[in-house]
């Protein structure tokens, strides 16, 4: 039952994103365009780009994710389907989880899969690419989950976007720091286990608490 509910919501999200006009620059495209801009603006100097590549990639992943979260519940809120969801879904956190999962597929997962390309454009040595991908696949689910809490809290509000950023970015900072430092250390030949474990821990915690919090937050937002 709950599984069916998950699946139906998940499918709906995929279809809807595929047809949407509001995917606020779909995260993947955002990342690649921004990376090309960086490369162009630095005059394409491989040395400089290489030192900065991990930072650029991780910061852009964060920003892309946050931008796409902004629209996660907005359309549903405006057309009234969020009301239906809050009133009828049982248990309520299941469709919420499905929505977050779908958002992650289009942002975190997609960006992880294409991160090697991004790395190559920025002249990241290919020995580092696996670490880049591992940190991304472990870190991005937490970005989506934590971000969704912020998105749910701000969906009905004026100035939602601004609030969202202020609420969410502080939560993102540890993930960013662990992610970047793992790649940097790998580049210097130091072991990266600690960072990996930390990223896993953050994601595990998020996955347990975030869906319930998001559901509660959505109720509050609908009841205006």
């Amino acid at each position: 039952m709950a599984l069916r509910l998950f699946w139906i919501q998940f499918h709906r999200e995929l279809v809807s994103v595929a047809r949407s006009k509001e995917e606020a620059l779909n995260p993947l495209l955002f990342m690649f365009l921004a990376i090309s801009l960086f490369a162009l603006a630095t005059g394409g100097d491989p040395k400089t780009l290489q030192t900065f590549a991990p930072t650029i990639i991780w910061v852009l992943v964060l920003l892309a994710n946050m931008l796409s979260l902004e629209g996660l519940f907005r359309r549903d809120y405006e057309d009234g389907t969020l009301e239906q969801l809050v009133l009828l879904a049982e248990p309520g956190f299941v469709p919420v989880l499905a929505k977050i999962a779908a958002q992650w597929c289009f942002s975190g997962l997609a960006m992880t899969l294409l991160a090697p390309v991004a790395g190559l454009i920025l002249f990241l040595p290919s020995t580092i690419l696996p670490t880049l991908m591992i940190t991304l696949i472990l870190g991005t689910p937490a970005l989506s989950l934590l971000g969704a809490v912020g998105a749910a809290l701000t969906v009905g509000l004026r100035r939602g976007g601004v609030l969202l950023a202020i609420l969410v970015l502080p939560l993102y900072v540890p993930i960013l720091i662990f992610g970047v430092s793992a790649i940097m250390q790998q580049g210097n030949g130091i072991t990266t286990d600690a960072q990996i474990y930390w990223l896993m821990a953050i994601t595990m915690i998020s996955i347990t608490i975030a869906p319930l919090l998001v559901h509660a937050a959505l109720r509050i937002s609908v009841e205006q």
Partner: protein, 193 residues
């Protein structure tokens, strides 16, 4: 108590400093239809949202069975087709139904696979109304269900309401247009301004 679908005790709500309604005692049993009327801005929609559990900013108590709420907002995703919307709704309510039959009954046969954005205003409303045929809640909360509908559509809605009442359901409906069903109670909000 078990026979009452909706009971409110001393319901009272204020918005922007204006008291919309006060001391409202509603008691709706099976097969009963309560219509709320009143001028624009008198608080009909607010009352319905209070009762539906979508507006907690009231005083007093509300007791209600599982209900279906159809508001001013369409409640359908315009990027999906009619079929996809109803399919999602089925999943949400846990009810299985024959979506194509339902769509045919609301007069949308032939438009099942059109993205709702490309439907006319009334057709979009009809897709929203199709939910009445899927959800088996015994209480219906309807906010101006006749909006944008042609004559046939209005007949359809009144037909659905009558059927629902006949099978022991309850209906709580806000409307500006006369409703051609057996209205059990009428509630008037707001004095003429």
């Amino acid at each position: 108590m078990s026979d009452s679908l909706l009971t409110t005790v001393d319901l009272r709500c204020e918005r922007d400093g204006r008291t919309l309604f006060a001391d409202l005692q509603i008691k709706l049993g099976r097969g009963e239809c309560l219509v709320v009327v009143g001028p624009n801005g008198s608080g009909k929609s607010t009352l319905l949202r209070c009762v539906a559990g979508l507006f907690p900013d009231y005083e007093g108590a509300v007791e209600i069975t599982r209900a279906l709420y159809l508001g001013h907002k369409l409640g359908i995703n315009l990027l999906l087709t009619a079929r996809e919307n109803l399919h999602w709704y089925e999943g949400l309510t846990g009810q299985a139904s024959l979506v194509s039959e339902v769509l045919e009954r609301v007069g949308m046969a032939g438009y099942e696979h059109v993205v709702c954005q490309r439907l006319s205003a009334g057709q979009q409303r009809r897709v929203g109304l199709a939910r009445l045929l899927i959800c088996n809640a015994s209480m219906w909360l309807l906010d101006e269900p006749l909006t944008a509908l042609d004559e046939a559509g209005q007949g359809l809605v009144t037909g659905l309401i009558s059927d629902h009442l006949a099978t022991g359901g309850g209906v709580f409906c806000a409307t500006h247009q006369p409703l051609a069903v057996a209205v059990t109670q009428t509630l008037e909000l707001g004095g003429r301004q």
